[in-house]
Symmetry: C2
Subunit: 114 residues, 2 copies
């Protein structure tokens, strides 16, 4: 199923931080991993991801280090910081709150218990 890209707006940073909360990763890898885990629903563009990573780094939510890959290329690995984990927790809480409210309005449901 194809989903309207505009739905992604606002949750991309959370998705990226989620990946990094599990292990160190480099940009190109994140795009592939996100596609894999979502069964190709999230096909993040490089033009979207790299600027986000740079902003997260500037905000000290992630740190980066260059590392030579076996194939002669240099990868830039990103690692989440304590501050980044805090941001992720906030984004997750915000997301749950938001989706509960949407479902409340659209499906007439009550918020699901935590």
């Amino acid at each position: 199923m194809q989903v309207d890209k505009s739905l992604m707006t606002g949750s991309t940073v959370m998705l990226v931080l989620s990946l990094l909360s599990q292990r160190e990763m480099y940009g190109y890898e994140m795009i592939a991993e996100l596609a894999r885990r979502s069964e190709d629903t999230f096909q993040l563009r490089e033009g979207t991801l790299y600027p986000i990573l740079h902003t997260l780094e500037a905000d000290k939510c992630v740190t980066a280090r260059e590392k030579a890959a076996g194939n002669g290329r240099t990868r830039r690995y990103y690692r989440i910081t304590r501050r980044g984990r805090k941001l992720l927790e906030e984004k997750q809480a915000e997301w749950k709150f938001f989706t509960d409210k949407v479902e409340q309005v659209v499906f007439g449901t009550s918020p699901s218990p935590a």
Copy 2:
């Protein structure tokens, strides 16, 4: 709780159609009703809603009729069409699909059963 407005992107039309799927409503009322049902989480702006309503009308997803209100003002009531209901169903399916995928990635959960 305040949520990042950019999360709303892509779901606004679904929210509006959801309201209209239950009863005929006028613009100003929809804004209040959306705020009420979401406990003030969704504070839609007139500059957002009216253009959406005009587009939905042009696309024959809603019809409109003027009606004098008791207070001397004229209200523009919107009613959802068959085509509008179809669009709503699509948006709802898309939304559930999308949120399932996000939770799959972020919380490591499996899609919830329908």
